[in-house]
Assembly symmetry: C2
Homo-oligomer: 161 residues x 2
Amino acid sequence: MEVSLKVIGIIRSPFKEKDRTPIQGVYSDTPGTAEVYPEYAEGLVDLEGFSHVYLIYYFDRAEGASLKQKPFLDGSKERGIFATRHFNRPNPIGLSIVGLKAVRGNVLDISSVDVLDGTPLLDIKPYVAEFDRREGVRCGWYDALDDHSARVHTPEGLRRP
Amino acid sequence: MEVSLKVIGIIRSPFKEKDRTPIQGVYSDTPGTAEVYPEYAEGLVDLEGFSHVYLIYYFDRAEGASLKQKPFLDGSKERGIFATRHFNRPNPIGLSIVGLKAVRGNVLDISSVDVLDGTPLLDIKPYVAEFDRREGVRCGWYDALDDHSARVHTPEGLRRP
């Protein structure tokens, strides 16, 4: 069974190449925009009070679905795709938490961007600390990395100081 | 423009009716399962080390897209749909963080469930504290609620003690 979703807008960033894009946004110092098409602008009302939002988007430059993949943060071993955030997933859906700096009509000014320029946008949701900041978290293979930090894997020029 | 996504499995819960389903999972004491179809089971390898996962799913019982909606936590005022987590979105994509208790073949035993029984599953991603626990978060209309807690809006019988 398949479901059909609408592209509701586009994400703009300075990133044109996958290997020059931050692996995760949390250490990225890079600004960008998330633009919804004008017919969806009314849905952005009240969003300016939130400091962070989830962007849900379509990895239009994924390289095909795979059930095992080497994570970008650990090239030593393949992992089950659902235990990674890699883009080569059965459904190429991306999820990023970005900072929200301003809402200008149908455009969000965002920070901490880790998304390729031109990526099709599917949804925006507010990040709510009470729902989304979970306690007592274990993170499997990621916790076991020697340098278990996405920071050291973020290219220096793209890294938050 | 539209994109087509595959249903990769199904979410099982005790919840058959929207108004008897927790509004958010964080205070839910309810177990359930997320089952991927057998052809995707290999993608679950390595997931058992993670205590929490994101489920991305299709709100198959949404009531039509709307750009303004009254949030379940605040019936006093309509808000822009992208400033809420309501299901009546331009794309009916749901996002829940659930606890992961066990992986049994193609089935995840999960906790803190806030999803209707039979909901089509689109993706599973690991929750990684370093990426996903953001600091210095402001939450707009949600922070401004008198009882700004999803806890008090979770039906008592479904609530974590």
